[in-house]
């Protein structure tokens, strides 16, 4: 059943030309240089410190490393992060 649903979604992206983030439930990330980062479609904050933000995704985690990180705003599905961003890393759900 789950395999069928995934196949249907991929088909919708290909045939109907829908944006992938809407259909596939993956995050959409917008970055402005090192300064700002806007993440949509997250599922909650796992860990937050000055140097690291760990967000829960539908299939795994997103790790943002940097310095002097500040969450400027947060909504149930969106995060606006500011600071000096060093790296972004995806961790697949095992």
């Amino acid at each position: 059943m789950k395999r069928w649903s995934r196949r249907l979604r991929h088909l919708a992206v290909g045939v109907l030309d829908l944006p992938q983030d809407v259909v596939l439930e993956v995050p959409r990330i917008t970055m402005i240089g090192q300064l700002q980062m806007y993440i949509e479609n997250h599922r909650g904050v796992l860990h937050f410190s000055e140097k690291e933000l760990r967000l829960l995704l539908t299939n795994g985690q997103l790790i943002v490393r940097g310095e002097q990180l500040v969450i400027r705003a947060i909504l149930p599905e969106e995060v606006l992060l500011e600071g000096k961003i060093g790296g972004v890393k995806f961790v697949e759900k095992s």
Binding site: G44, V45, F48, E50, L69, I71, I74, L75
Partner: protein, 407 residues
């Protein structure tokens, strides 16, 4: 995402949280729909964020659930600002009174400007304006609409055909358009029209009075042309004689025209000299080399700084030299005669008056002597020869009154 206006209006606080489950608290708050922003961590067991005052009370159960402790570190926004103002009541009242005072002062009329008066004085217009309420210090709220004021003022000022009232801020502009009043006709006393010069009558047009002369009649200077006495011997009346009498007048004009004429022209060459003036001495500063002009016209401008009658002894002046050139021109006799006639004509017309017309021109005599042409020309000019002469009041003839009654 953030609504700064709302944050300021509702008031916000910065909360420092102590506790291990900070992330859990943030997640719960977001899920509850509590608006938090500027989240940062300053250590493993410590974090802070901004929150609306209203939401702070909704945060409390979540704090209990996660075992965190909160501490308010700073406050901002309108509610806190109000509290601060309450502490400085005098200042706040002063500021409010100042604004209110400014507003109140701007609701009065402070200046009145009257435009467009010609015969009326601005003072008269201002008096009328005061009657309808426009005066210095009048409260604008109590004034009627400009349209109505306009109508009232026009009714009160019969000399004006239209009055515009325009209120702009604290200034009232009154635009007056005055009625055109026709000048009353001048009352003329009884008079004759007499001849100014010896002449032959060319045309007589009597509007009032009795014409005493006929066309082609010769008149002497001072002769009555149109009489102010009308009626016959038994019934007489006096009027101001009015009319137009044109006569042919003869003039002889003697002109001399030199055959060689010299005139000087400016060549357009110009140079400026700058001098330093010290006391009564002037030292030329610039240019170092002057172009020698054979003949020139000089104009000088002097600059000497000073205050009222005191002036500095040091100043400067600029002298502009314009080069001149002499040109001589020799005329033939025909040209000289033509030029002489032209001069003579101008001379005659200036003697005979504006409306004069030259009827005939005859060169009587031409003589060339000593490089000059002497001309004598005879002109017959048609011009207005009428001159007004008042009739000195005579004691009325004994029969006149009775004859008037009989009339």
């Amino acid at each position: 995402m953030r609504n700064l206006m709302r944050e300021w209006y509702e008031g916000h606080i910065t909360v420092t949280i102590r506790g291990k489950r900070f992330e859990r608290l943030v997640n719960l708050a977001v899920r509850e729909g509590i608006h938090i922003w500027n989240i940062s961590r300053s250590g493993s067991g410590q974090g802070q964020f901004d929150i609306l005052i209203r939401d702070y009370y909704r945060l409390r159960p979540l704090l209990r659930e996660t075992g965190c402790k909160s501490h308010v570190t700073s406050r901002g926004g309108f509610p806190f600002w109000l509290i601060r103002i309450r502490r400085r009541a005098g200042f706040a009242v002063g500021a409010f009174l100042f604004l209110f005072g400014m507003y109140m002062l701007s609701t009065f009329v402070w200046t009145i400007e009257v435009q467009g008066t010609v015969r009326l004085t601005p003072g008269q217009v201002e008096q009328v304006a005061e009657k309808v309420g426009i005066k210095q210090g009048a409260w604008k709220v109590k004034l009627k609409e400009p349209q109505i004021l306009q109508k009232e003022m026009t009714a009160l000022l019969p000399e004006a055909s239209w009055i515009g009232v325009h209120i702009e801020g604290t200034k009232v502009t009154i635009q007056v358009v005055e009625k055109e009043v026709q000048e009353p006709a001048k009352q003329l006393g009884p008079r004759h029209l007499i001849a100014k010069k010896k002449a032959v009558i060319h045309r007589v047009e009597a509007e009032a009075g009795k014409s005493m002369v006929q066309v082609n009649q010769f008149v002497d200077k001072g002769q009555v042309l149109i009489s102010g006495v009308i009626g016959n011997d038994t019934r007489q009346g006096l009027v101001a004689a009015k009319g137009k009498v044109e006569g042919e007048v003869w003039y002889v004009s003697n002109v001399s025209v030199p055959l060689n004429r010299k005139s000087s022209h400016l060549t357009g060459q110009k140079q400026d000299l700058f001098y330093l003036v010290v006391g009564s001495y002037a030292v030329q500063l610039w240019p170092l080399q002057t172009i020698p002009f054979e003949k020139y016209e000089a104009s000088e401008t002097r600059v000497q700084l000073g205050y009222s009658q005191y002036s500095l002894p040091v100043g400067w002046k600029k002298v502009s030299l314009y080069e001149q050139e002499d040109r001589s021109k020799s005329l033939t006799q025909e040209e000289a005669i033509a030029l002489g006639k032209q001069f003579a004509r101008q001379d005659i017309l200036s003697k005979a008056g504006k409306e004069a017309v030259i009827k005939d021109e005859k060169v009587l005599h031409v003589k060339t002597e000593n490089g000059k042409v002497y001309l004598s020309i005879h002109y017959a000019v048609i011009e207005d020869i009428a001159l007004e002469q008042p009739i000195v009041a005579l004691p009325p003839a004994p029969g006149q009154n009775t004859s008037d009654k009989a009339n």
